[in-house]
């Protein structure tokens, strides 16, 4: 089956970023989620927090203007936003556990309709890469997941129940994929918007979990 075009990773992150409200403190996970900070809406001030204790960083530093000591959670060189503050690692996670993160955006291997997600370990291998994901997942006010809808060999990632060891139970409230935007509700995944040209039936074919589909589905909002 030759698929229709899917959303770009930047379009996925633009759409997530449109959900950020003025004044929110937002933590962006490594990988796809870092693209959220490329979406700039001048009517909203977003305070980007990084696990290493940077509160209020700005866009990636232009080449030649990098400050070696100012990096985000992905070790990318970033700029300082006005009003930036620095704390140490224990204080940075105090802020996370203390409930000061309005939204965290993370990547995942799987998300399930009950709001679980998995992003740290494959059980056939020892160990895992947890980083700060469990702290953020357990304690942020909102957990948003950004992930491509299917694995490279076409397997679905929006599942009835996660197969991999989970990062936190029941915390995900919204998921963006390259096929659309989905709310996680008590009734499971609810379609909010779909990628241009895709029908609910087509997306359901790529999804294990049953999608709840409203009568009318607005078009996926792209950057103006």
């Amino acid at each position: 089956m030759a698929d229709k075009p899917r959303l770009s990773r930047q379009a996925m992150c633009d759409r997530i970023a449109m959900e950020f409200q003025d004044g929110w403190v937002v933590n962006l996970g490594v990988g796809i989620p870092t693209l959220c900070s490329n979406y700039v809406d001048p009517s909203r001030d977003i305070i980007y927090h990084s696990e290493n204790g940077v509160i209020g960083y700005g866009p990636l530093a232009p080449e030649g203007e990098e400050i070696p000591h100012l990096v985000n959670a992905g070790a990318q060189k970033v700029t300082a936003a006005p009003g930036m503050a620095i704390v140490h690692h224990a204080d940075s996670f105090s802020l996370i556990r203390g409930g000061m993160i309005d939204a965290t955006v993370m990547g995942a291997y799987e998300v399930s309709e009950n709001g679980d997600f998995a992003n740290w370990r494959f059980p056939e291998r020892k160990g895992g890469g947890i980083g700060g994901a469990m702290d953020l997942a357990a304690c942020a006010k909102r957990v948003f997941i950004a992930l491509v809808h299917n694995t490279r060999d076409g397997k679905p990632k929006l599942l009835h129940r996660c197969q991999l060891p989970i990062t936190a139970p029941g915390v995900v409230t919204m998921v963006v994929t390259d096929l659309g935007l989905f709310d996680v509700t008590p009734e499971g995944f609810q379609v909010r918007e779909l990628a241009p040209g895709w029908t609910p039936e087509e997306v359901q074919e790529h999804t294990e979990a049953e999608l709840a589909v409203p009568d009318t589905i607005p078009e996926f909002r792209l950057r103006a």
Binding site: V30, V54, H88
Partner: protein
């Protein structure tokens, strides 16, 4: 005030015995004590344990030389299975021990060791595999797990500025684990990137690590900055 400045990294790590537990800060490059770690490689201590965010390149050198018995960190597997390191292979072959700790719990366990707190309850990891063997407790309607303080014999610190007594300042994201590790270790050894000033040369309100926590200080020569 005591002057804690030493002439070389070699002198600063000379007494590290086999079997020591060593805290190694850093998150990405900033705040990583690369010169002290390099001196430790030369010094020869073995059967070590390390406490760090990840098995960074400096710890990896010791691991690959089979001088580390155990690592405590937030990453014991690559996020992409393709990025397998010698450490990961050794761990999968049971040639080294590792304890995977969520990053915030790791920071808090280190902080608890410095703060004289024996253990604490955190909501992090509840409902996951990492919490399976841990004590649980409901507090204010929320489930927490019990986590213990994680102390060390040595902390290797990378600071921006120091005074001769050991008051320290960090620059931006260089701070990360450095202050809490300096508080948690029995012996704190510092490599200083920018300058060492006389005691009292740093504004008392802008000190990130009080000198009472610091034992030894070495100035990094220009070729050791590495950033």
């Amino acid at each position: 005030m005591k002057n804690k400045v030493l002439p070389s990294f070699e002198a600063a790590v000379a007494d590290v015995p086999d079997g020591s537990t060593i805290m190694v800060p850093g998150f990405g490059t900033p705040g990583t004590p690369r010169n002290l770690m390099s001196a430790l490689v030369d010094q020869g201590a073995t059967n070590l344990a390390t406490i760090s965010n990840s098995v960074n390149r400096d710890i990896a050198v010791l691991v690959e030389a089979r001088r580390v018995r155990k690592v405590y960190c937030a990453f014991t597997a690559p996020t992409h299975p393709s990025r397998e390191t010698p450490f990961v292979r050794m761990y999968n072959n049971d040639e080294i021990d590792a304890e995977l700790v969520p990053q915030g719990t790791l920071a808090e366990r280190i902080r608890a060791a410095g703060a004289g707190i024996g253990a604490f309850y955190t909501p992090t990891s509840v409902g996951t595999e990492l919490a399976e063997d841990k004590e649980h407790r409901e507090i204010n309607g929320r489930t927490h797990v019990l986590e213990y303080a994680l102390p060390a014999d040595y902390a290797f610190i990378r600071a921006w500025r120091a005074d001769t007594f050991g008051n320290l300042q960090f620059r931006f994201a260089q701070r990360n684990f450095n202050p809490i590790m300096a508080m948690a270790a029995d012996v704190t050894v510092v490599e200083v990137e920018h300058e060492i000033v006389d005691a009292g040369g740093i504004d008392p309100d802008c000190i990130h690590v009080p000198g009472v926590y610091v034992d030894r200080i070495v100035k990094i020569p220009p070729e050791g900055i590495f950033d």
